[in-house]
């Protein structure tokens, strides 16, 4: 057997004392994949939306991120500008180009310079959207796509995420369901829970290992 694929599969089948699976067995496994049933989902991922939002913010804070809740979408550019000022960051952001971000009233902020596209090494701050907030552990789900490059989530030192409160869900499975509904799976699904960190030196926790040092979430109520 020179074909390595046949070699590995053949060995597994030999040990299991069978050839390829029987039709009925195969059908059972095909069905399991097609139905992808949920396993145990923690009870904390279930509850009224208002409570899930509070829990989401709570866990996000515990994971080292900061959260600001604003009443409406038009408040976002001012909130971004204020965050940059408060943290002595340059008034320059690189953002995603999806409608969620693109349609915000950025021009109100004259001092804020905004460009769109994938991150470059020189970008200090990124502003992106997210598909969902997950209350279970205060986790954000971001996906790659035409308007949402993955590099924005990792290269800049500060990552600002704009999230509509109505997209907060309970569990990882709930968030994955949203992605499934959009059709083909994107190249990248990023589940992000707080800023980058490492404990590799003397088990001392330090933020900003390779990814963002600060993760700031602006949660929009509307």
């Amino acid at each position: 057997m020179s074909d390595p694929r046949a070699q590995i599969l053949g060995k597994i089948r030999e040990i299991r004392g069978r050839g390829a699976l029987s039709a009925s067995n195969r059908h059972m496994l095909d069905t399991r994949l097609a139905d992808h049933p949920r396993n145990v989902v923690p009870a904390r991922a279930d509850g009224p939306q208002a409570e899930l939002i509070v829990q989401f913010m709570d866990y996000l804070g515990k994971a080292g991120a900061t959260v600001l809740r604003v009443p409406k979408r038009s408040d976002v550019p001012a909130a971004v500008a204020e965050y940059l000022r408060d943290n002595n960051l340059p008034g320059r952001v690189r953002t995603t180009s999806d409608p969620e971000i693109d349609s915000l009233p950025w021009s109100d902020q004259e001092m804020l310079e905004r460009t769109e596209g994938r991150a470059e090494k020189s970008d200090d701050v990124s502003v992106t959207s997210a598909v969902a907030g997950i209350a279970e552990t205060g986790t954000l789900l971001l996906t790659s796509g035409k308007h949402t490059p993955t590099s924005l989530n990792f290269l800049p030192e500060t990552h600002i995420v704009v999230l509509s409160a109505q997209t907060v869900v309970g569990s990882y499975e709930d968030a994955i369901d949203k992605v499934r509904k959009q059709g083909q799976l994107p190249r990248t699904l990023n589940f992000i829970t707080g800023p980058s960190r490492t404990a590799d030196v003397e088990l001392t926790m330090e933020m900003g290992a390779h990814g963002p040092r600060q993760l700031h979430v602006i949660l929009v109520d509307n």
């Binding site: 590995i8 992808h36 515990k62 990792f154 190249r187 490492t198 590799d200 990814g211």
Partner: protein, 470 residues
């Protein structure tokens, strides 16, 4: 695999005498079990998830051929490529070929134990391709040319002064008068140095915590974000994963993800959990143009259907070593194998041969803590016992130990003889140590009395005392 497992005893001694290591192990052995316990207590469903995780893994191992085929189908469907590799050599060849065809000069790597197992860095280096570890701990030990000492925290055996020294001698282009005394300065320096490497690299290599058969996705879990930079910035992404990493669906992956971080570091969730599926889509502004998955067997399939099959459920959280009284005393390097601690004591004999590693399954007190905390409920002590039996059958133990055991086994088959012998020995030892209350030296038991006294036994055996009382 670079196995110095044969020298476990000497290496363990080195570990015990290494003050820096002992400090680190003290912190590790206290902190991680506490954090894990808090995380487990904070999730009422934790044990139910463990049961379900175990069952899913067992189901996959029963139908491994099916799930691997479905996984490949999905990877191919998304424009990626699967490379089946029966041995570590096959995996090295496949990775080198991809790198050479891409005319790669440098490769950045996310943290991956399986790439340690196949020793890919040295192989690429030998062919003129520079492989750069980007996980901070891995980067540090790569500069020092040392193996990892823990599967989650590879550089825990070093202190910040040693790391500062390493950085000073390797980062020659930086200001020699810079301050590197504190941890933030060290982390910042590594961040700055590695930043450009990600951007310049032609290929990014990562491991995978899970592969998803339903979608053809590979999943990595990290805290630093280095794996993500390695798999999204270079032109080519190579995933190296062993065959038992496959899980059926995204929902199944969620079950394991709920267990992994809590068991490993006591976090609710690691900072970054990333699902990658195929190369970048035509419209995507970034991401790799090629996506390859190296599917490595390297001895795993030999374990299917044997008493060691359960070890294939391992999700590499490291909880067993964090809780192990032997690991937290001697450190990871003592094991002389890629995978240290209780999991290594079971896995290494399977990968490298019991003749190369018979000390490892003996490096256990059988306290059972590893099995107790294992999220996949792997019966590690039982498996170490199986390996001991095999080592004995193959004549790996010293002659004296074999004779002693054979002698004991014969006596144990004849109760009258056993009781007679035990009575004689007990009386003899009692007589010898009566005055002192302990024995300073004992024939055939120098290993014990060299370090501590042997308590003098009572005048008669328990059984004969019991009989008299009746």
């Amino acid at each position: 695999m670079d196995a110095t497992a044969k020298s476990f005893k000497d290496q363990a001694k080195d570990g015990l005498e290494n003050a820096t290591l002992q400090d680190a192990l003290g912190k590790l052995g206290f902190g991680f079990p506490l954090l894990r316990q808090m995380a487990a207590d904070g999730l009422p469903e934790f044990d139910a998830l463990r049961d379900q995780g175990r069952d899913i893994k067992n189901h996959v191992l029963e139908h491994l051929d099916y799930y691997l085929e479905r996984f490949e189908e999905q990877v191919t469907g998304h424009g990626g490529q699967v490379h089946w590799c029966p041995t570590d050599g096959d995996a090295r060849d496949a990775i080198l070929k991809i790198c050479q065809e891409a005319r790669a000069k440098t490769v950045t790597k996310g943290k991956s134990m399986v790439t340690e197992e196949i020793a890919i860095n040295a192989h690429l280096e030998a062919h003129g391709i520079k492989a750069i570890e980007t996980d901070l701990g891995e980067y540090i030990i790569q500069l020092r040319n040392e193996p990892p000492s823990h599967i989650v925290g590879p550089a825990i055996h070093l202190n910040k002064e040693q790391i500062a020294g390493t950085f000073r001698s390797h980062h020659k282009e930086l200001d020699p008068d810079r301050s590197l005394e504190e941890v933030p300065a060290l982390v910042r320096e590594a961040r700055e140095v590695l930043r450009q490497k990600y951007i310049d690299a032609d290929v990014g290599i990562t491991g995978a915590n899970f592969l998803v058969a339903e979608t053809g996705s590979s999943i990595i879990v990290t805290n630093e974000g280095n794996g993500d930079l390695s798999q999204s910035l270079p032109r080519i992404h190579i995933v190296v994963a062993s065959i038992e990493k496959v899980v059926p669906t995204l929902e199944d992956a969620c079950t394991f993800l709920r267990l992994l971080a809590r068991s490993a570091t006591g976090q609710e969730f690691s900072a970054y959990t990333t699902f990658s599926t195929g190369p970048k889509r035509p419209d995507d502004p970034d991401g790799p143009e090629q996506y390859h998955v190296i599917l490595l067997d390297n001895g795993r399939s030999d374990l299917l259907g044997t008493e060691f099959q359960d070890v294939l459920r391992c999700i590499r959280c490291g909880a067993c070593m964090n809780h192990c009284p032997v690991y937290t005393s001697v450190g990871g390097h003592a094991y002389g194998s890629v995978y240290p601690g209780p999991i290594g004591s079971v896995l290494t004999p399977a990968l490298a041969g019991i003749d190369q590693s018979h000390h490892l399954p003996n490096a256990s007190t059988f306290c059972g803590k590893c099995e107790e905390v294992c999220p996949m409920r792997i019966p590690l002590p039982k498996m170490m016992r199986y390996w001991r039996e095999r080592a004995f059958d193959q004549g790996q133990d010293p002659v004296a130990a074999r004779w002693a055991l054979a002698f004991w086994a014969t006596a144990a088959r004849w109760p009258a003889l056993y009781h007679f012998g035990a009575n004689v020995m007990t009386r003899l030892l009692h007589f010898m140590g009566k005055r002192e209350g302990h024995l300073v030296r004992l024939p055939f038991a120098g290993g014990w009395t060299r370090h501590r006294d042997f308590p003098t036994p009572e005048r008669a055996t328990f059984q004969s005392q019991w009989r008299k009382r009746l």
